[in-house]
């Protein structure tokens, strides 16, 4: 699996670098307008676009056909894409924390509460979107996959809103907002894992030509 992860890092390297620099610049820029920790909502989503660059590149170069002949199982090939997605989401998160920590050192009011809240929102949104778009990348052609990828972020926002409203039936979300988003985060993690299993099943039976 390490080999294909190295390949994806080579493919997405420039995109990853641009995303990191943009997030840091945006983080400092945002501090004049709104809470810098809000960047944690955007960061994982922005950084995972590199996965779709690698998926598009794989399709264009017919790497998908080549890799099947290598000593890797189909579930490992899929697993690598999901792992790459999570690694990029975490990288985005860590990058967004850099301006937050620096600005906090300079006395800006960045609380652990807001970091946890926006962080769980960002990761939940990212996992829900990835859970929709990653299996679809192996179902549809690259053009359709990119449309699904863009739509999946809108869908994830709707799903989060729906989950929060449902949680509100159990307890008042306004007083327990962090708990509500932790529940959303747990559901997102479970959904991402189920999505991985679905993608393995789809890819396992798919003819690759």
């Amino acid at each position: 699996m390490k080999g294909i992860l190295v390949k994806d890092l080579y493919i997405a390297r420039s995109n990853i670098l641009v995303t990191i620099v943009s997030l840091v610049v945006l983080g400092f820029g945002l501090s004049f307008l709104l809470e810098t920790s809000a960047l944690l909502v955007l960061a994982p989503v922005a950084s995972t676009t590199a996965v779709f660059i690698s998926i598009t590149s794989d399709a264009a170069s017919k790497w998908n056909k080549n890799v099947i002949t290598m000593p890797l199982s189909r579930s490992r090939i899929i697993g690598e894409k999901f792992l790459f997605y999570i690694l990029l989401a975490l990288l985005g998160m860590l990058t967004a924390l850099i301006p937050c920590i620096i600005l906090a050192c300079f006395g800006l009011d960045i609380t652990p509460h807001s970091l946890c809240l926006y962080g769980s929102m960002g990761i939940s949104s990212c996992l829900l979107a990835g859970g929709i778009s990653l299996p679809c990348a192996y179902l549809f052609d690259p053009e359709k996959s990119q449309i699904v990828f863009m739509m999946s972020f809108m869908a994830s926002t709707g799903i989060i809103a729906g989950l929060v409203l449902l949680t509100n039936l159990l307890f008042p979300v306004k007083e327990n907002i962090l708990l509500a988003f932790y529940i959303v985060l747990i559901i997102s993690v479970i959904w991402f894992f189920i999505s991985y299993r679905i993608a393995v099943r789809i890819y396992g039976k798919r003819d690759i030509t």
Binding site: Y10, D58, T69
Partner: protein, 283 residues
């Protein structure tokens, strides 16, 4: 294990095409050429054998194993038509990728082959010509101590000089009796140079599997006029066709036919001509 590769009763159905119980073998230490016109089923056979497409029936055995697991794949080098590597990579970066995929990856062999083929290690693959991409794919296939090479139209579209280089490498490869090659191509002249056996596939079915020597040394084509054609014993003809005023008749023993019909012009048959008569002629 006497066969490096074996397919038996391989079947796959599509809407407009079917691979119909394809069976043949690649004996250990030999080169087998898989020939057939475009769309005959050569690539489908290879794809089904390698697990790229799901077979509906049949058995595939590679290096004595029916299950195509990582250990078997480690020992197979596959080259498709085109390089099929991310074009943003350079051969040097590809080395970093491959050494983390193949346990038996041999960096020294890889870089030696890059030098032998004059491939720049730091240049992106997208800047390579088609010939260079094919040489790179072959370098990769040779760099993890493969025991079986499978080449699917790997020499198509290459100039004769590059093709000749590659054919020489393939011949060197089978000097080791543990090594075997299955090569599909519609450039039959390449296979005439290197193949030990020829498998001819047509409309998804294996028409014949024969030693190349038998085809080139024994098969023949009788070229004759209408009257002479009428006088021939039709049961001895494998296939025949009329081109202009001339009849061409494919026979399996040209010396016997020359003795039987001393006035007939019986010529050796090339694999191209044999394929053409099977496909376009009547049987």
């Amino acid at each position: 294990m006497t066969n490096a590769f074996m397919v038996s009763g391989l079947t796959k159905n599509y809407k407009d095409f079917a691979l119909d119980h394809v069976s043949f073998t690649v004996p250990r230490g030999s080169i087998v050429g898989l020939i057939g016109e475009n769309g005959a089923g050569k690539s489908t056979t290879i794809n089904a054998a390698l697990g790229l497409i799901q077979k509906e029936d049949g058995v595939v055995s590679i290096l004595g194993r029916e299950e195509l697991d990582g250990d078997v794949k480690e020992q197979i080098g596959v080259v498709f038509d085109g390089s099929n590597y991310p074009e943003i990579l350079s051969p040097k970066k590809l080395n970093q990728v491959m050494k983390n995929i193949y346990r038996t990856w041999d960096e020294q062999t890889y870089f030696n082959l890059l030098r032998r083929f004059s491939l720049p290690a730091h240049k992106q693959i997208k800047q390579f010509s088609r010939g260079m991409k094919m040489k790179l794919a072959i370098s990769v296939a040779f760099s993890h101590h493969s025991r079986l090479l499978i080449l699917d139209e790997a020499t198509s579209g290459l100039d004769p000089v590059v093709r000749d280089d590659i054919l020489d490498m393939l011949l060197d490869f089978v000097q080791d009796k543990e090594h075997s090659i299955l090569v599909s191509s519609h450039i039959t002249s390449d296979l005439e140079k290197i193949a030990d056996d020829i498998v001819f596939i047509h409309e998804g079915k294996v028409v014949f599997e024969k030693p190349k020597e038998e085809l080139t040394e024994r098969y023949g084509i009788i070229k004759c006029g209408g009257a002479q054609f009428d006088a021939l014993d039709q049961s001895e003809a494998i296939a025949y066709r009329k081109t202009g005023h001339e009849w061409q008749v494919l026979v399996s023993d040209r010396e016997k036919m020359q003795k039987k019909y001393p006035n007939a012009l019986v010529l050796p048959a090339t694999i191209d001509e044999i394929m053409l008569l099977y496909v376009k002629g009547e049987q």
